[in-house]
Subunit: 292 residues, 2 copies
């Protein structure tokens, strides 16, 4: 297991973590500058943040600052209520692959979607099995295109509390079953993003990380689970402030040969997003050394 205590060369910042500074939106260009200033080697940007500044601007800025990407957030949201919706998802996901290529991302992270309409509070139906079938079909279609571009796809199993509205792939086992079905040769074109927030509770976690192996462990995300958690989406904790044994999970991932970044992804409307981004980034660096 790598020693993170003395440096932060393996730290990546998911740009949602500093989406706001003192409660005000922070442009991605500023996030890039602030990360580079601190010797942070990688980021994982969100599509909406990239679009707000412009893809070519961001692509050039990342190069100019010598940054790498640990992933690109995100493709997915495959299920839809009708053929038109499915076609729109297909087109949008191809665009996401293209952007990931332009940004030289190591993988496109997939948040696969849940029941159509549920995110807006109006689920079109309650058939989660159908949604899951659409997810598999959607990944299969996208995988053909992504392979032709050389862009790996990383399925991110989301915590079961997001099964209805954000992702109906909710365990590592389920994600790896999809990988087995669509990429049985374990080519590296399809794998998983392991986010400790989503999977820490799983009694089968260690076994499934072992099952994944190096070729399918495409990303490793960290934050912490707070007790109490006051909001299902936006109350994620800084590493060390919650109950997840992050070093243990990292040891399992690295035992498989994972040698990539540890990406900090924190959604926090009531705490970290209210603070100055400089403080947030400095805290990420410190906690990466002490609690990851």
């Amino acid at each position: 297991m790598r020693d993170f205590s003395q440096d932060h060369s393996c730290l990546s910042i998911n740009t949602a973590t500093v989406r706001q500074s003192r409660g005000t939106p922070l442009p991605l260009t500023k996030i890039i500058e602030a990360c580079a200033e601190r010797g942070i080697g990688a980021i994982s940007p969100w599509r909406d943040q990239v679009a707000a500044s412009g893809l070519s601007v961001i692509s050039q800025s990342i190069k100019d600052h010598g940054l790498k990407l640990s992933g690109y957030c995100r493709g997915g949201m495959f299920p839809a209520a009708d053929a038109q919706g499915l076609a729109a998802a297909t087109a949008d996901n191809r665009a996401a692959v293209d952007e990931a290529c332009e940004l030289n991302a190591p993988c496109l992270v997939l948040v696969v979607g849940g029941l159509p309409g549920a995110l807006a509070g109006h689920a079109a139906h309650k058939d989660i099995a159908r949604a899951r079938d659409q997810v598999v079909d959607g990944i299969a279609t996208l995988l053909t295109y992504a392979k032709s571009c050389g862009m790996p796809l990383a399925i991110e199993p989301l915590h079961p509390m997001y099964a209805a509205d954000r992702a109906c792939v909710n365990t590592m086992e389920q994600a790896l079953d999809i990988c087995d079905a669509l990429d049985p040769e374990q080519s590296g074109a399809l794998g998983v993003a392991v986010d400790v927030y989503h999977v820490w509770w799983d009694p089968k976690l260690q076994a499934q990380i072992q099952r994944a192996g190096k070729n399918r462990l495409l990303a490793f995300h960290v934050c912490d689970w707070l007790t109490p958690t006051t909001d299902l989406l936006n109350d994620r904790g800084m590493m060390g402030d919650g109950v997840i044994d992050i070093p243990q999970i990292r040891s399992w991932v690295e035992a498989q040969g994972y040698s990539g970044f540890s990406e900090v992804e924190i959604f926090s409307t009531q705490n970290w997003w209210l603070r100055d981004h400089a403080e947030v980034l400095d805290t990420c660096i410190a906690r990466h050394r002490s609690h990851v």
Copy 2:
């Protein structure tokens, strides 16, 4: 599958559902009267509500009103930070078994507990595997006593969002693994309580219900998952108001031979607990017929 559309003889009310009426605590004696008045055949009372009125008073009242129990809530909370805490949990759980016997409950429901101290916001450690070992040990010890009393124990897998603070048994598969370890003969002394709120998301749910079989399906709880869900604990929905396909899950349970009650358990500080309990109970009856 039983037809619930014409009557509510299979409806049970978990008394937490009407713990408050118009925001004011409602005594269990009043809940019993209100259920009996409506021809509701069973309740599942909570220990704190029983204690508030007195065990013998409640026991007599249940008999006088011709009610049955669908379960008794609850034993569990096994993990502890020290030997003293473990001993206290053991004693408390034996008392819960005794009370369940006095009330003629068909089973004692177990919410097994999580990381010691986490419910109060101060986890003593982050070792969920250790907590899970303590749960197995605690159930094993309690099972010996419960068997001697003839009181079945129903492990309730709780939604993974409660893994830290309420229950570190989070899937049917995990609960049934414990049943296999402690009661390999499937005697009926140890089984599971299937609450749709906790397990609806699980891609292995149908398979694990089949694995459980009739002898281990000791209780069936219903409510609904709202989108959005605004609170991790107290924003459960009335059947029909959310995204869970309850009839499908009931069909799987009944296909195994389950013929017990459908128990409505809703925690809802901002909606149902603010309404008059008469309205809540009448709605439970209507939704039991239309959406369970």
